[in-house]
C-alpha cells in the first residue's frame, strides 16, 4: 500500500529545509522499494517544529518534527517511539488551544487541489451567497461583526455597503496582500496554504457589491506566495470558479518593495502604475478608488474569512470574541519566542497568556522584556501591561494597537532607545514623501536620537522627540507617519531607563 506523507511547501518550512526533507524521503523510499506519495501542503504554523512531516495512518495523521533530511530513513518505519514523534497534530497544545476558522484548511490540504478544497468545505460560502443574493450576503457580513484585519479595524460590512450603494460602469474588489509588518505572516501562509479561500472570499465580495473584477496586490518579498497564488488563479479559471461564467475574475499584481503600498490608497496608486503615494481622503476608495471607480479594498485575512461566515452563518462567527471585536484573529507570535507561529483564536486572550503561556517565553531563554504588537507602527509593551486583552479597543485604551496581529518578542538584551530610533529610521526610509510631518519629521527624529546618543542636551532633545511625535501623530496623512509615534513614545514611556542610562553613561564617560 502507498504510504502518504505530508511535507509543507510554505516558505518558512522551505527556509529550514523542507524541500531537502521531501527529496530525501523520495530517495530513501525508492532505494528501499517502498511506494510513497508526498503531498506538499501549506504550513500548520508551528514554526519551531518545521519542517514538520505528517504521515497518514489508520488513526489519522501523525506528525514528526523538526525533521532533517537525515531523518528520512527512520520516518519510513517510524512509530510513537521515534524521537521526533509529536502525535496527532491536532493534539499538540499549540494547535489544540486554537479556534481555526479562517485557517481551518491551512497546513492540511494541498493548496493547489480544488478537490481538497471542496472536500474540506471550500465553496460552500459562495454557494450560499449566490442563493442569498447581494443584499442578504451583505447583511450576513455586517451582522458577523467582521472588522478589517489589516489593522484599521473598520467594519467590513459597512465598507461593502458603501460600495454596493454606488452606481458605476465598473467596480473593483482589491485584496491588500502587501503584508509588510515585521512579525506578520498570516497573509503569506494563506496565499501559500489555502489560496482558494481568498478567491472565494473575493468572489463573494464581488457578488455583494456588484463588482466583476478583482486585483490581488502581493508584495515582491513573497515570491513563493506569488507563484502559488498565480497558479491557483489559473486553476480556478479552468474550473469555472473564476471567469466569464462565474462573473468574476482576478488579476495578480506584484509590488516592488515599498512598505507604504500597504496603505490602501498608495496601493491603488501602485496598481495604476504610479508612485505609491498616499491619497488624501475623502474621496474614500469606496466612492472613488481604483481608476476612479468604487472599490472594495480589504486585507487578505478579512476576505479569506468571509467564506466561513457565509457558510456557517453570521451568528456562528460573532459568537466568538469580546466587546466590539467579534470572531477570531490569527495572531502571529514572532521574534525571540520559543513557540513561534500562527495562533488563531477568539479575541480576548491576554498578551501575557500569548507570550508566556502559548509562546513559552523567549527562544534565548532570557526573560521577556518588551513585546511589540501590531508591526513597526505598533507600541512596545512591557510586562506590566501583559494583562491587556487582545482586542481592538483594549489595546487602543493603552496607547497601542493590534494592527495585523503580529507579536514580536524581545528579551532583556534589547536596547529600547535603539528600537525607538529604528522606528523613525524605518519611517524615513519608507515615507512616500507626500506629507511633511512624515517625510521631514522622521529624519529629524533620527538626528535627534543621535544627539541623545552622544549625550547632547538630553532632556531638551527628549522633549523635542515628544513634540515631534505629536506633530507626526496629528499632522500626517496616513498611518505611516501617524503611527510611527506609537513605538517611539511607548519605548520612552515604558522603558525610560534606556534613554536616561545612556545620558548618564555619556556624562560619566
Amino acid at each position: 500500500m502507498t504510504m502518504r506523507f505530508f511535507v509543507p511547501r510554505d516558505a518558512a518550512a522551505r527556509a529550514v529545509g523542507a524541500d531537502k526533507v521531501a527529496a530525501a524521503l523520495e530517495d530513501e523510499a525508492s532505494r528501499r522499494g517502498i511506494e510513497i506519495q508526498i503531498v506538499r501542503t501549506g504550513s500548520r504554523g508551528l514554526f519551531w517544529l518545521e519542517p514538520m512531516v505528517e504521515v497518514e495512518t489508520p488513526d489519522g495523521r501523525i506528525a514528526f518534527g523538526p525533521v532533517k533530511p537525515g531523518d528520512a530513513s527512520g520516518l519510513l518505519t517510524a512509530g510513537a517511539s521515534h524521537p521526533l514523534y509529536l502525535g496527532r497534530p491536532e493534539d499538540i497544545p499549540f494547535l489544540k488551544r486554537q479556534t481555526r476558522l479562517t485557517f481551518a484548511r491551512c497546513g492540511i490540504v494541498d493548496p493547489l487541489s480544488l478537490a481538497d478544497w471542496r472536500a474540506y468545505g471550500g465553496g460552500r460560502g459562495l454557494e450560499r451567497a449566490r442563493s442569498l443574493g447581494p443584499a442578504a450576503t451583505l447583511e450576513e457580513v455586517t451582522k458577523s461583526g467582521l472588522r478589517g484585519r489589516g489593522g484599521a479595524g473598520f467594519p467590513t460590512g459597512i465598507k461593502w455597503k458603501t460600495v454596493a450603494d454606488t452606481t458605476a460602469d465598473r467596480k473593483y474588489v482589491v485584496c491588500n496582500a502587501d503584508e509588510g509588518d515585521s512579525g506578520t505572516f498570516a497573509d503569506r501562509m494563506l496565499l501559500e496554504g489555502d489560496p482558494f479561500a481568498l478567491i472565494e472570499g473575493m468572489a463573494i465580495a464581488g457578488l455583494a457589491v456588484g463588482a466583476t473584477r478583482g486585483f490581488v496586490y502581493i508584495r515582491s518579498e513573497y515570491p513563493d506566495a506569488v507563484r502559488t497564488f498565480e497558479r491557483a488563479v489559473l486553476l480556478a479559471e479552468a474550473d469555472g470558479l473564476l471567469g466569464v461564467a462565474a462573473g468574476f475574475d482576478i488579476e495578480v499584481r506584484v509590488g516592488a518593495g515599498a512598505y507604504v503600498c500597504g496603505e490602501e490608497t498608495a496601493l491603488l496608486e501602485s496598481i495604476e502604475g504610479k508612485r505609491g503615494q498616499v491619497r488624501a481622503k475623502p474621496p474614500l476608495p469606496a466612492h472613488k478608488g481604483l481608476f476612479g471607480r468604487p472599490t472594495v479594498i480589504n486585507n487578505l485575512v478579512s476576505l479569506a474569512t468571509v467564506p466561513w461566515i457565509l457558510a456557517e452563518g453570521a451568528e456562528a462567527y460573532s459568537a466568538f470574541g469580546m466587546g466590539r471585536s467579534r470572531g477570531t484573529m490569527p495572531i502571529q507570535l514572532a521574534g525571540n519566542v520559543r513557540h513561534g507561529g500562527l495562533f488563531e483564536t477568539a479575541f480576548g486572550v491576554t498578551l501575557g497568556e500569548l507570550v508566556d503561556g502559548i509562546g513559552g517565553g523567549t527562544r534565548s531563554g532570557r526573560p521577556v522584556r518588551a513585546v511589540q504588537v501590531g508591526g513597526p507602527l505598533g507600541a512596545y509593551f512591557p510586562r506590566a501591561l501583559f494583562d491587556t486583552a487582545f482586542d481592538y479597543e483594549a489595546f487602543a485604551a493603552r496607547d497601542g494597537l493590534i494592527g495585523h496581529g503580529g507579536v514580536v518578542v524581545f528579551d532583556e538584551t534589547v536596547d529600547m532607545m535603539r528600537q525607538a530610533r529604528f522606528a523613525l529610521e524605518f519611517c524615513a526610509i519608507e515615507s512616500c514623501g507626500k506629507c511633511t510631518p512624515c517625510r521631514i519629521g522622521s529624519t529629524r527624529g533620527v538626528e535627534t536620537f543621535d544627539k541623545i546618543q552622544r549625550g547632547e542636551r538630553v532632556a531638551a532633545n527628549l522633549e523635542l522627540i515628544e513634540d515631534l511625535c505629536q506633530t507626526m501623530k496629528f499632522g500626517s496623512l496616513c498611518a505611516l507617519g501617524g503611527f510611527t509615534p506609537y513605538p517611539v513614545m511607548s519605548a520612552l514611556r515604558h522603558f525610560p531607563e534606556d534613554f536616561v542610562r545612556r545620558a548618564t553613561a555619556v556624562a560619566a564617560g
Partner: protein, 153 residues
Amino acid sequence: MQWDEAEAREIVRRHEGREGRLLPILHGIQSSFGCIPDPAIAFLAQAMNVTRAELHGVVSFYHDFRDRPAGRHVLKICRAEACQSMDGEGLARRLLDRLGLEWGGTTQDGRVTVEPIYCLGLCASAPAAMLDGEPMARLDDGSIGEIVREVSR
C-alpha cells in the same frame, strides 16, 4: 543581458490591454535586463506616451528597481524588528565583514550583492534572509559559512 529594444517592445506588447500596466512592464524589463537601464526610460516614455520625468519618478520610487545590474547572486538580509530580536543585525554585520561589503554593495568580482530587506514573513524563524529568491531562516554563524560558499560558486 544587453539593452535590446525588440525585446523591450515584446515585453510591452505582452501587457497590452492590461489596466495600469506600468509595474508589470517594469518587472518584466528588470527580469530581462537585470535593471531598468537608461535607454528603457526613453523607450517606455515613448511607448506608453508619458514623460520621461514621470517614468523616472515611478522607477525611483520603488526599492526593487535598480539602475544597474546586481551581482550574480543577490542576498537580501532582513533588518526588521523580528529579526533584530534574534540579533539579525549582528549576524548581518559578520556576514558583510566576511564578504568585505557594506549594505547595498557588490563584491569586486561581481559575485554577490547584499541588500537590506524589511521583512520576508519568516518572523517566527528569525533571523531570515533570501538568496536568489530562495528563503532561508533560523540563520546562525554556521549559515554564514554556507552562504559564503554558495555565493562563491
